[in-house]
């Protein structure tokens, strides 16, 4: 009896109050079910005997059931012919086959086949499209922006007048992204463009500014370009470019003491009045006397010769300039007074 009581104490869950002792004992044996747990984690759930499996069966693999998503029919099927396309495609967006009601095809065709259609076509998605910039859309943009605009000044009708009133041209770029970051490092770069003829410079200052700016000056268009990109922010770069232009201007007007040491070899162009050529001409004409001053006013055709020599040296030698020089020299050379001017014929 005491044994039964002790058992009852241990398995209180199964203890069913009864009058009959024997009934109590029988109910204990019925409660046991075989322990079929295979894994260790399931141990606590089963209490019965463990079944000996000499070759354990592998656990059954559960087939993953792919749930089919119900796709809506393509939107283009429901589009009206006179619909408002701007509201369908309002902004920049990657190509979408169901939204674009056009039978476009793109890609390398297989043999005897047409190019791939628009569905699932990566080629079409890769390329940028301008479906958000159709002419009616742009027209509507402009209409919307018009109320913020002011009237164009009448005085600025031509490019030349524009150059006259606004000699300084500031160039920078804004970048627009649909991505998560709106920052673009290229946006900081500021270029100043100004025509050199718009700056007030004398001969010395012009020479000096050209030497200072070096290749930033384009002699063909007469434009001086300063690009500032060393600061992180556009405003800083703008101010730096402003500073550079100001400093350049004032520095070129300043004449240092050592600049007086400039010799003919340092000249940026051939100045006939300073060169040996002028002395030669005057000396030849004064021969056999030695000239007192290099005054060429009285020499006939000297001006033409001067221009020809300057052109020959400044513009470089070619058949044209050498011939021009030849004609000029022919006129200043010494020919028999009675004979007319020599010619090739």
């Amino acid at each position: 009896m005491s044994l039964v009581a002790r058992l009852c104490e241990r398995h209180s869950v199964y203890l069913i109050p009864s009058i009959n002792n024997l009934t109590v004992v029988r109910s204990v044996t019925k409660a046991r079910i075989p322990n079929t747990a295979t894994s260790k984690t399931d141990k606590g759930k089963h209490y019965g005997f463990r079944i000996l499996e000499l070759i354990p069966k592998p656990p059954e693999k559960q087939q993953r059931i792919v749930k089919k998503i119900q796709a809506l029919p393509p939107r283009m099927n429901q589009m009206a012919v006179d619909q408002d396309w701007t509201s369908v495609w309002p902004g920049q967006r990657t190509f979408h086959p169901a939204t674009v009601p056009l039978p476009v095809r793109q890609g390398y065709p297989k043999k005897n086949e047409a190019p791939p259609s628009k569905y699932g076509n990566a080629e079409l998605m890769k390329i940028p499209n301008f479906l958000h910039l159709t002419p009616p859309t742009i027209k509507r943009h402009c209409e919307a922006l018009k109320k913020f605009c002011t009237k164009w000044p009448e005085e600025l009708d031509t490019d030349t007048s524009y150059d006259k009133h606004f000699p300084l041209e500031v160039i920078y770029s804004n970048y627009c992204y649909s991505g998560p970051s709106i920052r673009e490092p290229m946006a900081r770069i500021v270029s100043f463009r100004v025509k050199l003829s718009n700056l007030t410079l004398d001969q010395h200052a012009k020479d000096k500014i050209l030497r200072l700016v070096g290749e930033r000056y384009d002699p063909e268009s007469d434009l001086l370009t300063i690009v500032a990109d060393r600061c992180p922010i556009r405003k800083q770069n703008y101010e730096y470019a402003e500073y550079l232009l100001t400093a350049l201007y004032h520095e070129s007007w300043r004449k240092e003491e050592w600049e007086n040491e400039k010799t003919l070899a340092d000249m940026e162009y051939y100045d006939w009045d300073l060169e040996q050529s002028r002395k030669n001409l005057v000396t030849v004409y004064a021969w056999p006397e030695i000239p007192q001053d290099y005054d060429y006013e009285n020499i006939p055709n000297a001006t033409e010769y001067k221009i020809a020599v300057s052109d020959l040296v400044n513009n470089g030698e070619d058949d044209f300039s050498v011939n021009k020089y030849k004609e000029a020299v022919k006129k200043i050379m010494f020919w028999k007074p009675d004979g007319d001017k020599p010619n090739e014929k």
Partner: protein, 385 residues
């Protein structure tokens, strides 16, 4: 066998077999038929536009005199091969001769610069003008190729009178000797006296009013002083011609070599000296100044005249700034490739000289295209035909 062959050749050299054999002998051919490509006017003074594109022949005696200073081997070879010295009368030569005829000889010298691409005939044009000067009885100051002095001088010596200057005694003496041969007949006739006493050393000098020929002879015999003699000779010539005793034609080929920075001449420290430090340069720079009259100066500028790589054939580039300042004002005269008429004349001439045979009209066209009308190239291509 070899020995006998050598003996045979020796025999050939010793005895002029040609004269005793029946082999063909070079004989002056009397061509009675008038050849349309030739002109019989052999006095360059009268050459004008009517003679252009024709070939004229320099008489043999004249050729000997005008090439005393030597000429490029190529020319001499061709003259020998053709058994006559024939030159095509071309536009630049006629142009220059017309200038020489019209120049005012009482005023400072006019200077002419011949320029053009390699092998276009600058030297031929100069030869033509030399012949002109010879027929007019002018003193010829001719330097055939300045670069030959600077490229590999036989001997160099430090100048006695000037520090940092280099003399080229052999070349100077040779030039003096050739100058004497070339102009002896005129110098003797003109009887030029020295205007001042020139001291060569403590014991040797050329006294005032002594003959110019004596000074030249002194330079030839005492080659140590030859360079200095040339320098003095130039100034004496200038003075003599200014005073009207003679007329002088200066003809210098490859003139831009005088302004070259690179030579093959080295000083005592084994350093290369520029052309300006050679004493002969001084002499020929002096004669090309415009401070004398009764003369004319003709020079050529050549891409090949200096060691430096030349990119352009134009005169100012080749002369450099220094040379331009020295020579300016000068009259540039372009020497260009053959025109079609000139080309045809030359081909005719080559055919006549049996230099080329069996040339079809297609072949002639091919030659013209291959050479591009360049005289030198044409000559090269015709060598094998």
């Amino acid at each position: 066998m070899a020995v006998s062959q050598r003996n045979f050749i020796k025999l050939l050299k010793l005895t002029n077999l040609r004269q005793s054999s029946t082999a063909a002998q070079a004989m002056p051919v009397h061509e009675d038929i008038h050849q349309s490509f030739r002109t019989r006017e052999d006095n360059p003074e009268y050459h004008g536009m009517q003679h252009i594109n024709r070939i004229y022949t320099i008489p043999n005696n004249d050729l000997k005199m005008i090439t005393c200073q030597g000429l490029i081997t190529m020319y001499m070879k061709q003259f020998k091969t053709f058994a006559e010295a024939s030159i095509l009368v071309r536009k630049p030569a006629v142009e220059i001769i017309s200038y020489l005829n019209q120049a005012d000889y009482s005023k400072p010298v006019n200077k002419y610069v011949l320029y053009g691409e390699d092998g276009t005939g600058k030297t031929s044009t100069m030869l033509h003008t030399l012949h002109y000067a010879y027929t007019k009885g002018q003193i010829i100051v001719h330097v055939p190729w300045i670069r030959s002095w600077f490229d590999g001088p036989k001997e160099t010596a430090n100048s006695i009178t000037k520090t940092n200057k280099i003399d080229l005694p052999f070349h100077a003496a040779a030039w003096l000797r050739n100058f004497k041969t070339q102009n002896q007949h005129i110098l003797n006739k003109a009887d030029i006296k020295l205007s001042a006493t020139h001291e060569w050393s403590a014991t040797e000098n050329s006294a005032k009013d002594s003959s110019l020929m004596d000074m030249i002879d002194f330079g030839i015999s005492r080659i140590k002083f030859a360079s200095n003699v040339i320098i003095k000779l130039m100034s004496e010539l200038k003075q003599a011609s200014t005073s009207g005793k003679c007329k002088v034609l200066v003809a210098i080929d490859g003139y831009n070599a005088l302004f070259s920075q690179q030579t093959n001449i080295f000083n005592d420290n084994k350093q290369m000296v520029p052309a300006s430090q050679v004493s002969l340069t001084e002499a020929f720079l002096d004669i090309t100044k415009s401070d004398w009259c009764n003369g004319q100066v003709i020079v050529t500028v050549d891409k090949m005249a200096t060691k430096e790589n030349a990119e352009s054939h134009f005169p100012r580039y080749l002369l450099t700034n220094e040379g331009f300042d020295h020579l300016d004002p000068f009259l540039p005269i372009s020497v260009e490739n053959y025109t079609e008429d000139e080309f045809n004349t030359v081909i005719e001439y080559y055919k006549n000289r049996k230099w080329i045979r069996n040339l079809s009209s297609d072949g002639q066209k091919e030659l013209q295209l291959l050479s591009g009308g360049n005289p030198y190239k044409l000559m090269e291509y015709c060598k094998h035909l």
